[in-house]
């Protein structure tokens, strides 16, 4: 489902203009992002938990070129779906 399809469906169902729905959804995404970057974690009800995790640097070897290099550390986003979301996804239609 693309972004436009989602906006159209919500607009038709709620009777709100598409632009308003688009603004509201973008604002929701911005709020989530800000909360995640500030607190380092975000818990959404019935969706799951988001966590900024850290992966330390390590040593790697390119087996084709036989080069030894250092992979830099990295912060990445870890998502753990909630139990309700998993059960709902596997629920028969």
């Amino acid at each position: 489902m693309s972004q436009d399809e989602l906006i159209n469906m919500i607009s038709e169902r709620a009777g709100i203009s598409k632009q308003t729905v688009r603004d509201i959804i973008q604002t929701i995404g911005e709020v989530w992002t800000e909360e995640l970057l500030l607190a380092g974690e975000l818990e959404l009800d019935n969706i799951g938990d988001f966590l900024v995790d850290h992966r330390p640097g390590r040593k790697g070897i390119n087996t084709e070129t036989h080069e030894i290099f250092i992979i830099p550390p990295k912060d990445y986003l870890l998502f753990t779906p909630s139990r309700d979301l998993i059960n709902w996804s596997n629920k028969a239609q």
Partner: protein
């Protein structure tokens, strides 16, 4: 973060009213769940994409996942954004001893198949078996000649008479027995001498240990002293002088003499011997009184007997020690039961009191186990 907090922040930003924001957020959540249930992806602007992937052994379980937007991932990794992989060196494969390296030449695979390309077997091609059948029909069976077995001659009578066929020399068996320990040469049996030396050392060690255990030899451990049995001289009861009843220190039974009293002249450091053995139970034979060979020429009737020895040397040695200690010691021979005993005695006293005084003096010098006896 609660749902109400999110709605409150969205309303505070002035996007729309609280009712509109609440309705949109609720529908967004409903469509998100329905899309994930259908296996679709849902894009959230400025945040990321939700989706599901199939997992599990049976590949029937769906696990929701989230892919952050590129901008969000960059913001999350803002601390290490500019870091890149750094090449520090090159891994060199050093061939080890025994490794075989392909150095060109004839390739080990079919030359018709190009390297790096996938080789597909043409299973649709018709394969005829005529060629194989033709080869099978024209094949001539080559029969190998049977081995001739010659039975040995068992008629020994013909061999003795010389009329029979001479015996067949035994053929060498193809199976050669393994070489024994002595037959192994210096090249093949380098361990044989060491093995023999080890076996010999083990046998010698076991022998020494067993001999030491049974006290045949003494190399370690507690030394067991040799037990020397001395038969005390038996004195017949009728030969016992009646005055011995008045002696200050008579022998325990009165029928024997103390064989080895302790003699410690001076400070009592020297120990001549200790009385050992049990009293003789057999009937004492007749005693013949020998003449006093080295008795002093005093006129006393009483004397003090110290001990009695079978060995003349020991008796003389003890008498010499007593003499050096200041006593008038002498040795008198007596025959008891056909054996000659050498009695060590001290002095001749005219009365019992003098003899007792001598005994007290001897006890002060460390000479114990003596008694008074009369001279015949």
């Amino acid at each position: 973060m609660n749902r109400s907090d999110i709605l409150k922040k969205c309303v505070d930003r002035g996007v729309a009213g609280e009712t509109e924001v609440g309705a949109v957020s609720h529908l967004f959540y409903v469509y998100l769940l329905s899309a994930l249930q259908r296996g679709q992806r849902v894009e959230v602007p400025n945040f990321g994409t939700f989706g599901t992937r199939v997992a599990g052994v049976k590949r029937t379980r769906k696990i929701p996942y989230f892919e952050p937007e590129q901008e969000l991932a960059r913001k999350v990794n803002q601390r290490f954004e500019n870091l890149r992989s750094l090449v520090t060196g090159k891994y060199v494969l050093t061939p080890q001893a025994g490794d075989t390296e392909y150095r060109g030449g004839e390739p080990p695979y079919d030359g018709a198949v190009e390297r790096g390309k996938e080789f597909i077997f043409d299973t649709s091609r018709d394969v005829s078996v005529d060629e194989f059948e033709r080869a099978a029909s024209t094949r001539t069976e080559v029969t190998q000649p049977e081995e001739e077995h010659v039975m040995p001659r068992l008629n020994l009578r013909d061999e003795e008479e010389g009329t029979g066929v001479p015996p067949i020399p035994p053929e060498e068996s193809p199976i050669t027995p393994p070489p024994t320990l002595r037959e192994v040469g210096p090249d093949g049996g380098s361990k044989a001498p060491w093995l023999a030396i080890v076996v010999i050392l083990l046998v010698l060690g076991a022998t020494v240990v067993s001999l030491n255990y049974f006290h045949v030899i003494h190399l370690w451990g507690k030394k067991v002293p040799k037990v020397v049995e001395q038969i005390p001289e038996a004195v017949p009861p009728e030969q016992t002088p009646p005055l011995t009843e008045q002696a200050t220190t008579p022998p325990s039974t009165g029928t024997e003499e103390t064989p080895l009293p302790t003699v410690t002249p001076g400070k009592g450091k020297e120990t001549a011997a200790q009385p050992t053995g049990k009293p003789a139970t057999k009937a004492p034979p007749s005693v013949e009184a020998p003449p006093a060979t080295s008795a002093p020429s005093g006129a006393g009737r009483y004397t003090v007997q110290v001990s009695s020895w079978k060995s003349m040397g020991k008796a003389k040695r003890l008498a010499q020690e007593l003499s050096s200690a200041g006593f008038d010691a002498y040795v008198v021979d007596a025959t008891v039961g056909g054996e000659v005993w050498h009695r060590v005695r001290v002095g001749r006293f005219g009365s019992m009191d003098e003899a007792r005084g001598a005994i007290v003096k001897m006890q002060g010098q460390g000479v114990d186990g003596v008694w008074i006896t009369t001279l015949e």
